[in-house]
Symmetry: D2
Subunit: 354 residues, 4 copies
């Protein structure tokens, strides 16, 4: 079962609500012998962090992480690694008048229908705050994958509204607040985002992730396929509504003679498949994409109902990203890394190997 | 773990290779008291069957299903339901010269890299033949969902190459060999497919599935979200490269004020979300789509290598669909039904209810 | 979840009722490259088989096993291995008058309370017939463990009623129909069993299993401990009411200075622990025992009720073992082997190694 | 997978080492709507606590528990409940000279062989300190079972060394530091324990647990049987070497005509089965027992080796219980409650019901 646990052999269980005392996770199944220190988490948590630029939400969390277990003298021991972050900048009062209201486009209504009770403050459990722990767990996975196999997992934003990059410089994506691979377009993006924020509206986005260096043979057919698990991992990120592997939806219009990647003694001639065939990695770069909806937390009013099904008009106060897709880049990278490490361990279990 | 098992509480374990003695599945966790007879499987197995029209593969399997266990005096008992179909029309000799060759676009190369050994005949385990059992298990799930909740899961093809329906009549989709919701276009599709088959090439497709009647509250946040599991279920179908829920990739260009579905006392005013919010069903229709690549099994030659990494030219004989997406409609419906029933049981476990 | 599936990485899913068309299992997660032929199953299935001697039930099943998948050219491929045995000697009519009656000491009452419906013929799903598949799956596990590590798993009966062996010759246990390690006592046992059968009564037994050659380091603390999983595996065998590891219940009266096994440069000085410390194998022989209740299927009458809660007197006809513990030896060996292989794969996943 | 997670639908993941910063757990799958406050944990944590009397270890932990998530306004919300206890009285220096030594009878050697690294301080992860979290999670399970079904789970010690109670007054067991059901024997036990402590030795024990009020129908045949899961749950407790259900090992000498529990219109006439038939609860009291070995942490010297396999003599300092079995009573109760609630949710998932 996997309600709040991700993964099968590298298992991450997260807990915590947006405005509760803390968020945290327990990583079980990590191979022993990996050096992990609190400082390892800093970079990716900052990449994900709120308050990174004026274009993202203004909630400022210290996000200082505490390692509670599983690491002894700086090295993983094979026992569960518990990570904890205290919530410090939660302004729960911003949410007081939402206690009985269902915000359209949010999980308020469905949590109420499912559980009959919910922590409404800041979205409670369904808040993007939880993704902090995905990123933290991803740091551990990425470190192992990098040290053991030289695997590199990197993402960028490839669409915001109607805007698409005109060129792809993946290194440049780290140099601007939009993870945008076309540095010349950054000023235009800033103008676009400022205008959007002023209007009180929000915008969707598309994020691409590439994993390079993944050996051939990872993936568990037929119901643990690598692509199926990547799809689940990415679709499970807040706001994601679509996932693609390789050429994605474009394949619907392709011919077989164009799509299939020819093979030569030096390897594949192309990578329409996105590095996965039959649910198993081919040794090529693994490429995937996801689409994120625009946040529904807007100053602009919208019709809804309260718990008594009485009509209300909702105007959301508080601090919200006009484009939640931007901060999703490190989250998507983390989820891809979690899937890869879990699949590696499953592959090693059945088939052995390095 | 879920390598050859799908689902958590309604669990389907499939087995069998395309040209082995038989394929089958074991359904564990089915609620007791459901009437099931061999005849219940007929319709959906025929919808999926090869040899259905000249536009699909010419392999003709009787696909007569045997219920080996779990059903007593016509009713499920709560014990495992084993289903078996003997393979009868396997022409393994068609594959003799492929024993040492990796067909581009297929799982030959990756199975070899993973396991070091593979049953090459007809694609072995990675053959679409396995999906027969997904459909069979789906029949059981659909029957339960229909009788208990009136849930109806229906799919259609919404794109073949560049062709898209100009109108949607979902009832009409059952009346033509393409599951095409626009009956006026069927003659054009037949011409297109005949021409494609003559050319020796294949084409991709897009399939939509809608589940109506799903109660609000199903779904297991955060790592068993209903949409994440649908994504996994659909992406795990052979040839699928993309999955969408609700508006899918279109959300990247949408504004929040447009995307969020307003709520009134009578319910939601629109359904951009595709019936899922925060990973939990909202009570609206659940809508999802997937893109299937064109089959790589073509008469047209392509470069590849054999197990010694020596260059070879591959021309695939045998019987293959020019558009595998067509037959994927009942498979996709089945996978959606399996996810829904599994999620219902998980919901009932934690939260009780009808 | 593990309702009808045993194991986590080496997973065995069984199906079938005593008097249904067939019983079978699907073994998922088997490492590729293991040679398996139908003949491999013969010996252990015969050891377990009914009709082996006049001291066990007279139901005679051919028990000829068919390999339906997962083995190609005599070698496992890493895909699911399905095994099937048709039921041929089921005399269902023997059970006609039990359709509405709850046999004391059997699962009739509890299956009815749980599912509201049951296949009453021959005990249905709860029949010991299902253990055939445990033994069959165990054959695969034992072969892998033997070839890879030289592990040998062997059991014997160490108590029948008040009778206990006066000496232990584990090789001798295979030479008599009681798996009894004291060959001199066999005539006395035969007399005892004949007298028991004549009386219409049955007797309990104790079975010991030893696994030699298990490397140190297998076991998954804290909730997948090797001893805990052995306990579950053995307690899950029909009729088992007690399980011990190492010294077992005798430890309640031991002093720490006696129990703890001293360690020297050449290894442990004793093995009170039964080869497991902290849930992990120590490299010593793993020793475990189980107690099996006497079968409740007797000619001797007993009071019970039917489905309407009306009093009835039950006298069980049909063919039944006076001491079900005897045939449990190969079943227990199989369960121990299944646990060991599963734990090995889990260990290799996390910690690597040979 | 269940390495550090217990349960399938009511899942408890524990973390933490004896002398690390904290121990904790995450409870996932708890039904919503259960009132839980920090005070609910007090009684059972004190019953388990070290320092309870002069007959148990002198480590004194405040064991003040913090609820980090999953409870909103005093009620469970259905999201993960994280519990945390900071370690405060860890005297790690007591263990400095054990860093490279393998204590006989402990997990030192096997953890080293498995992981190649271990936190040696106070036994690290394999310390009984972890059982605090089992008790804490058990409090939640017991509260649900009690409120919903009136189920009561109670344990007592039924053997210490050669001493056995001469009468059973289960209420009296709470009134003395030995959980001993025969109050007249308490002075004798105190003398016995004082003498044992003086000698520097330790003693084993036997613990019985009874669960009253469990409805018929809980349990998941065939590989999630209620008795098999109880066996796993109890055998997984530190120091346990044997587990019994109902009559346990005594059945090896019983006749079927004696063992089987007759049924009448008013219910069962006896309870040799211990409330479980075919792996499913019968509605009778569930009775189980376990044997705990004497602790190996003694002042008395013993031979061992260090990590270089050089001989050493081990004399364990620090604070240790002469009879660890005593404190195991609330732990065993907790594990039984965890199994019961998990099984209830699994039963409700498949079969519905209250």
């Amino acid at each position: 079962m996997s309600h709040n646990t991700f993964g099968h052999l590298f298992r991450v269980t997260t807990f915590g609500e947006s405005h509760g005392p803390a968020i945290g996770c327990v990583i079980d199944g990590c191979p022993p012998g990996l050096a992990i220190a609190p400082g390892d988490f800093t970079r990716d948590l900052q990449r994900r962090a709120t308050g990174r630029s004026r274009h993202t939400s203004q909630r400022r969390e210290a996000d200082s992480i505490e390692i509670l277990s599983g690491v002894f003298e700086g090295v993983t021991t094979g026992t569960p690694i518990a990570l904890l972050i205290r919530n410090t900048d939660a302004r729960s009062r911003d949410y007081d008048d939402l206690a009985r209201v269902f915000r359209p486009g949010h999980a308020d209504f469905t949590y109420d229908r499912k559980y009959g009770i919910r922590d409404h403050r800041g979205g409670g459990r369904s808040s993007a705050r939880e993704t902090t722990m995905r990123v933290a767990a991803g740091v551990v996975a990425r470190k192992y994958l990098s040290e053991r196999f030289g695997i590199r997992v990197r993402g960028h934003v490839s669409q915001i509204g109607e805007l698409r990059p005109t060129r792809f410089d993946s290194d440049a994506a780290e140099g601007n607040p939009f993870f945008w691979p076309d540095p010349d377009m950054v000023p235009a993006l800033e103008t676009y985002m400022d205008s959007l924020r002023k209007s009180g509206d929000s915008i969707g986005a598309r994020v691409d992730v590439v994993a390079e260096g993944v050996p051939a043979g990872w993936g568990a057919p037929l119901y643990g396929k690598l692509d199926a698990e990547l799809a689940s991992a990415l679709m499970g990120i807040n706001a994601v509504k679509g996932v693609e592997i390789g050429d994605g939806f474009a394949v619907a219009a392709q011919r077989g003679s164009d799509h299939r990647d020819a093979i030569g003694p030096e390897g594949f001639a192309s990578n329409h498949a996105g590095g996965i065939l039959g649910g198993i990695s081919s040794g090529q770069a693994i490429t995937c994409s996801m689409a994120l909806k625009p946040t529904s937390s807007l100053r602009l009013p919208v019709q809804s109902v309260d718990r008594d099904n009485a009509p209300v008009t909702v105007e959301v106060k508080g601090r919200h990203d006009p484009c939640v897709g931007i901060r999703a880049v490190p989250i998507a990278e983390a989820m891809v890394a979690l899937v890869l490490l879990d699949q590696y361990l499953r592959h090693r279990a059945q088939c052995g190997g390095p």
